[in-house]
Amino acid sequence: MLVVGGRPTEAKLVGQIDSASIVGPAGKNAGRDSIGLVVDERVVQEVKGLQRGGAAARAIELKEAAGSGTVTVLNVGEADTEVIIRKAISIGADDAIRVNAFPKDAFFVAQQIAHYAKEGGYDVILMGKESIDFNGFQVHGMVGELLGIPTIAPALKLDIAGDTATLEREIEGGKEVVEVKTPFVVSCQQPMCEPRIPNMRGIMAARTKPLKVVEAIGQSDRTAVAQFALPPAKQGVKLFTVEQAADLVKALRTEAKVL
């Protein structure tokens, strides 16, 4: 199984956002601060997410349940992402690959994953739903199409027996039970599995497990970010007392015009 994830490029993106002209009524500095703040919190979350959450944790559970197999972690990112890769290894992955490149756009990343997935002959390729910075929700489908295999996205459940997987795919307003043969791509959505906390043995072992650094293949000239911008600042909350509940409803009709 190949787990793809952890795109901790926020530090880079902060750099990009800083240098790009941020336009918005809040002004340049206010904008930078507010994005910077979000990014900081997200970095922490991402680390926790990869450590405990979805794709990697479920892959390791499945490997343990089957009593055989390997779990490889793959990340497309520069050297600073290795901290995160080690965290994923510490919950029980066997080895890791880092494709040494800045993840320029979804198609670029998908090409790397498809190339190294093919090379490794993995039977299941697991990833999250979308990156928490760009919210693309694109890579899973692109990898599936590049490899000519099905993609199930986003999946709430994943079970594998032999070469057949049973998944629950979330669609708007419900879910579908889907059965596919390996190999396939799955984009994992919580609550797929219980969080996994690395133990001391795992953390120590992660230091010595192989982390292969490979170079990127190909390139993408499909998309480019021209600039970042901020939404208009909120006016601030307009408070009503409990007794004024009816006035709030009136304001929603006459002022906000949403009723």
Binding site: A110, D133, Q138, V177, T223, L230, L259
Partner: protein, 325 residues
């Protein structure tokens, strides 16, 4: 050259989000001086497809194959790709839904197209330069993305554009088939479990949402949320802790790891407003927060608020909404 719009259907009718997508596609077609054709997926009647003329669609391609009633990724991709080839579509527009984004990302590879998901505005087209604004950082910021490929695919975020209704306009419905084989149905669902809304409104399609958090104290108090939702014609939702303890089903969980919504009105009852929850709601047009803790972080993201006990406030709001008529 034309614009091809992917229309998602369910229970015989076009989904509301797809009416927005149709409007978006027709406007892009007007920008490019061409017409917008639609290709429909899911269960729908020809009469309802003809009504897409109201959104500016001139022609609708429809494959009535019963196997396409429910979402099948590979078959949908093949059908849409065939339609795009037939129509020489340079721009493809879909909903930024689980179906739309999943299909769109595969099509981007198959059609060698540039893809922008989560688009929030019409594109800016300046000669050959084609730029689309899309939401990033869970709605906290936008990125203007230039689509350099000759073909472009845009997945439009719900509630980013208002659906137009030009009464009396109809689209021509044309039957269409792609040469689908059994292999295209490799991911066909064995079973479809739709959430029971008991006559209520489906959350991802809702204009108004009433959402409850741990401050509701237990599932037995949810009638207060439901009463207000019913009076407003709103869908009900909840925070992650609430679905984690099974007070409410997972499909109602709004937030970073649940559903992202962008309704016109989001009323949060007894939800503190953790950043993970805000990530799922902060592109709502108007946010109302009811919480007894004046320090709840949600008030910072709100437009309107009441500092007070939800058990006292909710019945008052429901009565006031009913009184509005």
């Amino acid at each position: 050259m034309s614009v091809l719009v992917v229309i998602e259907c369910d229970h015989g009718d076009v989904k509301k989000s797809s009416l927005e997508v149709a409007t978006y596609g027709a406007k892009v077609a007007a920008q490019l001086g061409t017409t917008a054709t639609a290709v429909a997926v899911g269960e729908v009647t020809a009469a309802n497809l003809a009504k897409l003329g109201e959104q500016g669609i001139t022609k609708v391609l429809h494959d009535a194959d019963a196997r396409l009633k429910h979402f099948v990724n590979l078959a949908y991709v093949k059908l849409i790709a065939a339609a795009a080839q037939q129509e020489s579509a340079k721009v493809l527009v879909l909903a930024n839904s689980n179906i739309g984004a999943t299909v769109g990302s595969r099509l981007a590879v198959r059609l060698e197209a540039s893809l922008a998901t989560n688009a929030v505005e019409l594109p800016t087209i300046n000669g050959a330069a084609f730029t689309v604004r899309r939401g990033v950082y869970s709605g906290k910021a936008f990125a203007d993305v230039t689509l350099m490929g000759e073909r472009k695919i845009i997945a439009v975020k719900k509630n980013s554009i208002e659906a137009e209704h030009a009464a009396g306009q109809t689209a021509e419905v044309v039957s269409f088939t792609a040469a689908l084989t059994d292999a295209d149905f490799a991911d066909a669902p064995k079973e479809v479990k739709m959430a029971s809304t008991e006559g209520g409104i489906l959350l991802p399609e809702a204009d108004k949402v009433v959402s409850g958090g741990r401050g509701m104290k237990g599932p037995e108090n949810w009638h207060l949320i439901e009463d207000l939702a019913k009076a407003l014609g709103a869908a009900t939702a909840c925070s992650k802790p609430v679905s984690d303890v099974d007070w409410r089903p997972h499909h109602e969980h709004v937030g970073q790891t649940g559903i992202t919504v962008s309704p016109n009105l989001y009323i949060a009852c007894g939800i503190s407003g953790a950043i993970q929850h805000l990530a799922g709601v902060n592109s709502s047009k108007v946010i109302v927060v009811i919480n007894k803790d004046p320090e709840a972080p949600f008030f910072k993201a709100a437009d309107y608020g009441i500092v007070g006990d939800v058990f006292e406030v909710l019945p008052k709001l429901t009565a006031a909404v009913k009184a509005l008529g």
